[in-house]
Symmetry: C2
Subunit: 813 residues, 2 copies
């Protein structure tokens, strides 16, 4: 049991650590060389561009302005300055609502903490048997401030019960207000949006195969018959996985070609050559530029034929289609109704927005889907409860004697002293660390296997799986010592009434552990988040070794996204801790409040300057957040129940039984009151928007607007190349090449270059100067607000120039 | 532990009892005097009418044809002769599908029983330790045939496991086939139906109040805006509860008037008189006929003013409306989509057919609804687990000493010997019996409080509540001795793994109890069902004492309905018993098979000849039947699991764990594959029907067809009286009176009357002869196929003459 002093020391160390991180961040962020690490979102949004003005070369890498070093917290007001509406416009509704989780945490826990500290701490303190010795005792043990200090059977527990009621009502009240706010924001956001393809589009899955018809004909006929007044057209989905591979390969070759051409231009005296065989060590020597040109043109022929094959072969059309309607009303009707007599065919749902579609999962048939979901839920259960079994197995292998027995041929290597000590010290923990590190990825893969068709739903599913893992292995695992497997055994062999008791007894004892957990995982994690150590290191490493062309640097700049899959569950864990400890050990609440406040600032800053959300789901994750907080409330009731029963406060049973019942009712009510806003699209709303549009743009050609919105992104790349060459908005690889050569000749003589030590670095800076304008423009269109931009252009010109998703889909993990 | 001989005796007694009942039934059913007890459905369907031909008076009461007495099972071929399609046409899809539950039982249990008896019985018998003494031992104890006889740890359990898998697969296979059949039948039924008002109508609840508008205007405006192409009109719902009371009162008075008029006509010498005060014992003497005429006319004035008030007062219009569309497509779209931004307003759903509407629940607002459902679910939980508490309390009062203490003033009465012995012998059991007798009614009231708006959903909800009660109190209550309250305590204080063990150990021991239960509750219950003892007695009692007019006799004829609320749960209990015992004690299966076969015959006969289903829900109860059988499968797996763990068959655990998992997956698959057919109406189907109708009847005036379909039934009675007087199809009380007087003068002299002992009986026979044709016609229109008939008439004449629901709504429990 830690004393208050221990805790104070721990807090001091963590605060100091966070402080150091913040100062480091303050220094690093104002160095221009780190600009793309700390402000990628601004680059993508076009709000920040490299100024290649007459600044000195050094200044382009290091900030020499002393004034800017002094105000090391200057980013805070900047992060707070943006209003919520601006934030929605800048980073989307998802990000803005994500931040509201933190403010919700503050709104919930600030009053609760105030009340708990004012009322419960005195009650707890004075409830002890050592009342006379209060001063000395209190400060030596944190338990004296918690409910543990109250004598069993004391009437003081009435105050705790009362507080439990007050806290529950307060949480429910705040949850209700927030749900209502978010639902309103969502509807408002959807209503105030510009015309978007997904408002008119419905995804149709499991289209039955009719022998004499092609899929497109079947779809056409079906919707012409059953939605005669509103059906507009359809966009078939092609199975373009092979084609996508070719595109990727060509891009890689193109990069090498760029690299060698550049090299040649800087050293015109020597054409770069290579040998054809054995990784370039033997074989005939060929000219690199010619070699890559030849391979690219060969690949282009292949691609063209593959493309024709995909577009013309009826077998390449998958039994899925994006069906468009001439009004939002028609789409809303189709998305919400059952189409076919066989409810497993013609499944309709709202189409996710084009960049949110997860194309690989579109063609999974219904039967397979139901098996997949079932198997994955079994697998998640196994993962949550039995993950320690393979890890223990690996750890037992890491036992050196065991390893030698299993693989005797390794004996000579292991016997080396250095290797031995390394293995003995490092291996056992390694397996667990690797597992925890790859866990989110594993869960994401599981979600993909489940067959969800949008990135947003995949992230939500991952989040919920991760939450179960954390709930069992972090929360319960810390309270009931032992692995989850042992817990499961324990739960099955104990009477159900015993379980809340065990947890209830364990809860107050683990308060200090969770306080430390919040400091280490929460505070330090947030400081690490703002410093972006990993992206910082990786960016500079890439810059030094991998980056060959400007396009590579574009990729090296990794804005990332909020990462709902990992962040939502840990946030929900903090809510759980706060609610469970609010009555038991109120001293934990300030730690959580500090976390929420600090994290709010940091994430607000990051959302404004760094993250680039890959999709916009219009806060579709909120119902999950809401129900997890409700679940936390219920868990807190059960633990309080168990705790009270060990405290001989028998009268509490009937009083406590109403709390969970009321909470469940509240949840049901909220669910029916607000959840439809996140699942369905009301016809009233659709009709309103339709009418407004008809009034303002009576001659709108919707068909051409929607024509290629849902084409597989890979096809946009070479779609109508003639058209694209004219357009300045859409930049394409081949056009890059042409322009590039022009520009190179142009800029080459004018610019002054600082020669840095590394040749690659040199090339990088050179490249940046020559291709800046061009590439920034490209990145602007293709990565960040590409989608909205695309629509602007199209609605203005009435000719569909498809948006570019290629980076987006390449980058996705 | 009962021996086989005990069981044989019990079976013999029950079979004998059933046989006696059947012979009684065979004799009673061919007596003309019982015609209205045993063939009410045929009367209602117009397939049977009283032949008032020249038969002798005695023959009209007693069947003297000896031949008909010999073939006492002659009703069986009659019950089987009808094909399923005829059955659907005759009694509706609900009844036909209800019978399929019995055939499903036979299809499931016949092969299982054959396999179990052939394979498991030999395995069990030879598995005993007393192998040498087999012959003597086996026939002395039923347990020797069950799994209890197999030695712990024996490898023979593999055979039981294999059988469990085979049985589960077979049950799932049959369930799948049956679900698919029923879903097809439902869609086919809906598709082949004639035009019905509910196909075009959507019920809209929770219409928001807008201050400057009336509800009707609000509805009109909203749907004109959001469904401009398909909205046709609306039928507001009036709060007519007070008016309904007046109507009832008037009817009662009318009956008395009829009675006195008749009396006067038979004894013209003496006008019936009564005194005005004190139950007719004192006060001024008045003429009865004049008195009732005066009161009726006074009441009619009241009704007229009340009617005007209801129809004109905007406050009498409830925030509910039946909205009609010009096509099935439009209604399907509106029913399945969300209308308003606030998902608790403008809730739309398919309208139940008019006779299925439960009018009283229409106006419950959303918030109240969510509270009601929550409270009722808590109440049902309390009822299931704690119902013994009040009953024990009542029983403790029935303890005479206690009663004397509580109410000392009763002492002299109690001390009387007769009273004392009566109380001591009768009272303790009485409370429980009364409770069990009124339980279905209590559950129905609870369902009504929950706020469901159709009779069919009320019955389904009652059935599921009753099922929980039976599951806990009959199934678990028999296995784990003690009240449900004690069980709950036991469950909470035992480890979860212990519970299946306890049940598993208890299961084989209770086999004989459940066999006897099946015989007493099942076999005897069915025999009682066909004899209709209660309706028979009540009908004749009413005929003797209450029936004053022919209309009273109409009411005394009580066809009843299947009673899904009570019958579904007990059927589901039999499925549960069969599945649980299939592996454990296969000898129970023949009892269940006999029950299903016998019940199938009896219910088929009753559905053809007796029951008159009050509504048609198109087999909406099937998903419940399906999921209850799945639940039974899961329970059987858990009990087997527990049993195996006590039998030291540890290897069975991993093998058994897949069974429930597979079953759950199967259930989920079936749910998504078939359940939408019972909840939604596919647009494809709607469009098809619409197009067919447009082609065949291009000039259909749908608006007038739908105009008054959903008027509160109470208004139909006095709706447009002028029109009704012309029409021969719709008979109305006042018209009765006029025609009655004519007919009386006509028939009075012609007919020969048999004077029976009772004056009432005499009147009854007299009445029957004079008013037969007229009233049969009325009953035909107003009770049985009234609804379809009503539509026929209207679609032919294009003028809406509203159907009559008054009897229907009066009779409902």
């Amino acid at each position: 049991m830690a004393t208050l002093e221990d805790l104070g020391v721990s807090a001091f160390i963590n605060i100091l650590g966070a402080f150091v991180f913040l100062i480091l961040f303050a220094v690093l962020r104002i160095q221009p060389v780190n600009d793309r690490v700390y402000f990628p979102k601004l680059y993508l949004a076009g709000k920040r561009q490299h100024d290649h003005s007459a600044r000195s070369a050094v200044r382009r890498f290091v900030n020499l302005n002393v004034c800017t070093y002094i105000t090391f917290l200057s980013w805070v007001p900047g992060a707070l300055r943006m209003t919520e509406n601006e934030l929605v416009a800048h980073a989307g509704l998802d990000s803005a609502v994500y931040l509201r989780i933190y403010t919700l945490g503050l709104k919930i826990f600030l009053p609760i903490a105030a009340l708990a500290l004012l009322v419960l701490i005195p009650v707890n303190v004075s409830g002890g048997t050592l009342l006379g010795l209060r001063k000395e005792v209190v400060f030596s043990n944190i338990d004296k401030l918690s409910i543990s200090n109250v004598n069993p059977g004391s009437n003081r527990f009435f105050i705790h019960l009362l507080m439990a009621y007050v806290f529950t009502f307060w949480v429910c009240f705040m949850l209700y207000k927030e749900y209502s706010n978010v639902a309103f924001m969502r509807l408002h956001f959807l209503a105030s949006q510009k015309r978007r393809a997904d408002q008119f589009t419905v995804i149709v899955r499991n289209i039955p195969r009719i022998s004499s018809h092609s899929t497109s004909e079947t779809v056409d006929e079906f919707f012409r018959r059953n939605h005669p007044d509103h059906y507009l057209g359809q966009q078939p989905v092609y199975n373009a996985n092979r084609y996508a591979k070719l595109v990727k390969k060509k891009e890689r070759l193109q990069n090498w070609l760029d690299y060698y051409q550049l090299k040649f231009e800087r050293h015109p005296e020597k054409r770069p050559t290579r040998r054809t065989g054995c990784f370039g060590f033997c074989g005939r020597e060929v000219d690199q530029i010619d070699y890559y040109r030849a391979r690219i043109s060969e690949l282009e022929r292949k691609m063209a034929s593959e493309r024709q094959k995909v577009l013309n072969d009826p077998k390449a059309i998958m039994p899925v289609s994006f069906v468009t309607f001439d009004s939002r009303w028609g789409a809303a009707v189709c998305a919400q109704t059952q189409q076919s007599k066989n409810p497993t065919q013609w499944l309709t749902d709202w189409a996710p927005e084009p960049r949110d579609v997860y194309w690989q999962n579109l063609a999974i048939p219904f039967f397979s889907l139901s098996i997949r979901r079932f198997l994955i839920s079994v697998a998640v259960f196994a993962l949550v409860f039995f993950y320690m079994i393979p890890i223990t197995f690996v750890q037992s292998l890491a036992n050196l004697e065991g390893l030698e027995k299993v693989a005797p041929f390794l004996k000579p290597v292991i016997e080396v002293n250095v290797v031995k000590s390394f293995l003995q010290g490092f291996l056992p923990g390694l397996a667990l660390k690797i597992f925890l590190y790859i866990l989110p990825t594993v869960l994401m893969i599981m979600s993909k296997v489940e067959g969800y068709v949008s990135l947003s739903s995949l992230e939500r599913r991952t989040a919920s799986k991760y939450y179960y893992f954390m709930l069992v292995n972090v929360f319960l695992g810390s309270i009931i010592a032992g692995t989850a497997f042992e817990q499961l055994y324990y739960f099955l062999h104990q009477p159900p009434t015993q379980i809340p008791r065990t947890i209830g007894v364990g809860i107050p004892m683990k308060a200090t552990f969770f306080m430390t957990y919040i400091m280490v995982d929460g505070w330090a994690g947030i400081a690490n988040e703002i410093l972006r150590v990993k992206p910082l290191v990786i960016y500079h490493l890439k810059n030094m070794f991998i980056v060959k062309t400007e396009r590579d640097r574009e990729r090296a700049m990794d804005p990332g996204s909020i990462g709902l899959g990992e962040n939502l569950p840990s946030l929900q864990l903090y809510f759980l801790l706060g609610l469970v400890y609010a009555v038991v050990t109120p001293l934990l609440l300030p730690f959580i409040i500090i976390f929420f406040a600090f994290a709010f600032l940091v994430y607000r800053h990051q959302i404004i300057n760094v993250y680039n959300q890959e999709y916009e789901s219009a806060a579709a994750f909120w119902p999950q957040v809401h129900s997890r907080i409700i679940a936390s409330l219920l868990i807190s009731h059960v633990t309080l129940f168990g705790l009270m029963s060990t405290k001989k406060a028998a009268y509490s049973t009937p009083l406590l039984i109403f709390l969970p019942l009321l909470t469940i009712w509240f949840h049901k009510y909220c669910k029916s009151r607000f959840e439809p806003a996140f699942r369905k699209y009301p016809l009233e709303e659709a009709m309103e928007k339709d009418n407004m549009e008809h009034a303002s743009e009576p001659n709108l050609n919707l068909k051409s607007f929607l024509a290629n919105a849902y084409l597989h992104p890979i096809f946009h790349l070479f779609e109508e190349p003639a058209k694209e060459e004219e357009s300045q908005e859409t930049v394409e690889v081949r056009i890059d090449k042409a322009q590039q050569q022009q520009q190179q000749q142009h800029h080459h003589q004018e610019e002054t270059h600082v020669r840095s030590s590394s040749q690659y670095h040199h090339e990088e800076s050179h490249f940046r100067s020559t291709h800046e304008t061009h590439y920034h423009h490209e990145s602007h269109v293709s990565r960040s607000t590409q989608y909205h931009e695309g629509i602007h252009v199209r609605s203005d010109t009435d000719s569909p120039s498809p948006p570019h998703f290629i980076y987006h889909y390449d980058i996705q993990p």
